[in-house]
């Protein structure tokens, strides 16, 4: 699933490149972005937020990142993340045409409200075309997304090229929408971002439980009378709002990253929606602030790229160290599980080897089992077996003397219990074969909690018939606690 999405993303990126190459003129600034090391004074001014303009920009970008993280959590879980990408790419022709129209009408072609109105209209038009293609043809949504995204973006780049040839230089700055440039942001622009972000944040928080239900179980939401279509439109509108106002700071190619990366990173840290949302907002905020500051210190580095790079740094950090689903945690969990399985295999193997010599429940410490006897019982190698033995030794279940091992009293009880549980599960899966084994919670420890007492009795009888029944000896722990009772039985 994830691999598919990655592949799709790669394809989309690839789909973009020809257009970038086809229109080098207005993008040439990308190549001569030779970064100069800034002076101490520049560092100080930026980091201490001494300029009014820097303060405004940082504040605007911070709240933008937070709002994008919030709404991104929902779109990610609604599996609509790429819709935002198509939307932002589709906004480029709108920006270019708005500039042309504005200039032609004698207005200031570069006024932000004008450009963003154009962006909104063409972005929404792009989304509408995606939905139309999906509904009218048999193409799947990913194909429709890819087509619209690349065609609209290509058209936008072409229009930009034409503009620059017609009125040389006057359209400079429009390409900042492609990569994002916080430096070109004015206080009024930041206010617009602030306002939009506050709207989106309150929307996400007020409609929190409705949106969660929509994303989790659309059918149930509908059955409870939640207006699913209206909620979907509300969510999409918030995406539109954040994408459009974020164009200037992050740029339309990378805007999607600010929606996806923080929420995807947050998922590694928690299993709770509420916390995921807050973590995503935090990662979005920090990533945007650090990225925008970097771009402010190195004016030649586009802020969009910086923001995305900082966010992706947090993403990799989360992916590896995430406390809930991180790679490391999952590796440790899997290792612990394997060790536990090895432990169960060891105790069962030892118990079954000495079982013929045992007389029911009595414990005989003289029954030795050699390592070479244990080796062929399972598909373990010697090293793994010895590790399992040593770990069991640490827990006082097994003793190792040279090449021989034996079960302690506690180990004997545990071995008998585990063997019984495993045999019972095997018997259950044979007897109730119509229950798909994969769906049974068959951690041997849990059998008595999962199965009904009658089923347990029935299984005991079946095992008795096959002479495989085990009377679990009285546990030494119980003896210690319940004294007389244990002795009586």
């Amino acid at each position: 699933m994830t691999a598919q999405r990655l592949l799709l993303f790669a394809c989309l990126c690839f789909a973009n490149t020809p257009h970038l190459l086809a229109a080098p003129s207005e993008l040439s600034s990308l190549t001569d972005r030779s970064a100069q090391w800034p002076s101490w004074e520049q560092w100080r001014r930026t980091l201490l937020l001494q300029d009014y303009n820097t303060r405004v920009v940082i504040l605007g970008v911070a709240i933008l990142g937070g709002a994008a993280g919030l709404v991104g959590s929902f779109t990610l879980l609604r599996k609509r993340a790429l819709m935002g990408d198509a939307l932002s790419h589709a906004s480029l022709p709108g920006i270019a045409l708005a500039y042309v129209t504005g200039t032609w009408l004698g207005m200031d072609g570069k006024s932000l409200p004008l450009l963003l109105s154009g962006a909104t209209i063409s972005g929404l038009f792009g989304v509408a075309v995606i939905l139309w293609i999906r509904n009218q043809t048999r193409l799947k949504e990913d194909a429709a997304l890819g087509i619209v995204l690349s065609v609209f973006f290509g058209f936008g780049v072409a229009v930009l090229g034409v503009i620059q040839q017609m009125e040389s230089g006057s359209a400079a700055g429009l390409e900042d929408f492609i990569y994002g440039k916080t430096a070109s942001m004015r206080a009024s622009d930041a206010q617009l971002i602030l306002l939009s972000s506050v709207i989106v944040m309150s929307g996400c928080l007020l409609l929190y439980k409705e949106l969660v239900l929509l994303c989790f179980d659309e059918g149930f939401a509908g059955s409870r009378g939640l207006p699913v279509v209206i909620l979907d439109i509300a969510l999409m509108s918030m995406v539109v709002l954040i994408t459009i106002v974020g164009l200037q700071a992050v740029g339309l190619i990378l805007m999607i990253a600010l929606m996806v990366i923080p929420s995807a990173a947050a998922r590694f840290w928690t299993e709770r929606m509420w916390w995921m949302m807050l973590y995503a907002a935090a990662i979005g905020t920090i990533g945007s602030v650090v990225g925008a500051m970097t771009s402010a210190v190195f004016p030649k580095l586009p802020s969009g790229a910086m923001i995305v790079l900082v966010c992706s740094f947090f993403f990799f950090l989360s992916m590896v160290f995430g406390s809930s689903r991180g790679v490391l945690v999952r590796y440790l969990r899997r290792r612990r599980l394997h060790r536990r399985i090895d432990r169960q295999h060891l105790l069962r193997a030892m118990y079954e080897l000495i079982e013929p010599q045992q007389d029911g429940e009595t414990y005989d410490s003289k029954s030795l089992v050699s390592v070479s006897q244990l080796l062929p019982m399972r598909s373990w190698n010697r090293g793994r077996l010895l590790r399992a033995i040593r770990s069991a030794e640490d827990d006082q279940l097994v003793r190792l003397r040279g090449e021989d091992t034996y079960l302690t009293r506690a180990g004997f009880v545990e071995g008998a219990r585990l063997t019984r549980q495993h045999r019972m599960w095997e018997m259950y899966l044979i007897t109730y074969a119509e229950v798909a084994p994969g769906l049974v919670d068959r951690d041997a420890d849990d059998i008595e909690h999962v199965l009904e007492p009658e089923v347990i009795d029935e299984l005991e009888e079946l095992l008795e018939e096959q002479k495989m029944r085990i009377h679990v000896p009285v546990s030494p722990h119980d003896l210690a606690i319940t004294g007389d009772q244990g002795a009586a039985s």
Binding site: E210, F216, G222, S223, R224, G225, L226, R272, M273, M276
Partner: protein, 278 residues
Amino acid sequence: MTASSPDQTPRSKDWPATAGSSNDAQVPLSVYDLTVAYHRKPVIWDIGFDLPAGQLVGVVGPNGAGKSTLLKAVMDLIPRASGRVRVFGESYRKNRHRVGYVPQRESVDWQFPVSALDVVTMGLYDEIGWCLPVRKKHRLRALDALRRVGIAELADRQISQLSGGQQQRTFLARALVQDAELYLMDEPFAAVDAATERAIVDILRELKQTRKTAVVIHHDLQTVPEYFDYVVLLNMRIVAHGPVEETFTSENLQKTYGGRLTLLDEVTEAMRRREQAL
């Protein structure tokens, strides 16, 4: 409103003339002339029935017979080409709060970052109201519902860490927490372990004792006589509906499943066992 069904389509002769025309508030679910089509192709045709109150109703039919479609159309989740649905004598919209829905387990992504308790509280969102947070009393009620299905101790688990049966019980608890009078369940017995099957059957019996009605899509023919009082046999059209004793016959099953049915003998056996038990 009286039943004046324009009889243009041929219907089986045991079709009651008044089927599905009831506005009676006592009738939990009344469906009349229901047709649903996806992409020009009709999925269910001319469905009509009145269900008796306080009974466990099994909806049975082969794959693709339109069982889930029927439930979804009743709840206005998909558009109907024609037809009328009455829930306790009113439209579904009006009596929505008296209906509990258990969707198919496969219909959602269980990796979603919510706990079992969170899922159950979703059954109360309607009652809590727009924009208001879930409060303690709601969580206590949700916990109660989880206790009824026997997994209260798993309330805080993220839902992907539940077994299939436990996930199904969570869905059941989400419907139970609403304290509805009519329950619509889409394959609650699909791929669950024996303990869960038992727990669901117990819940169904409990519902019946308190005069609630449950409409359950079911695929295991053998257990139909054991679990249900009333049965609706569906294969795009209603083949038959009525009390299990009269309706769940080999003849009707043959009509429903055609050549696909190999379980007939076992079903006959199950019916015989039921008679002996009674």
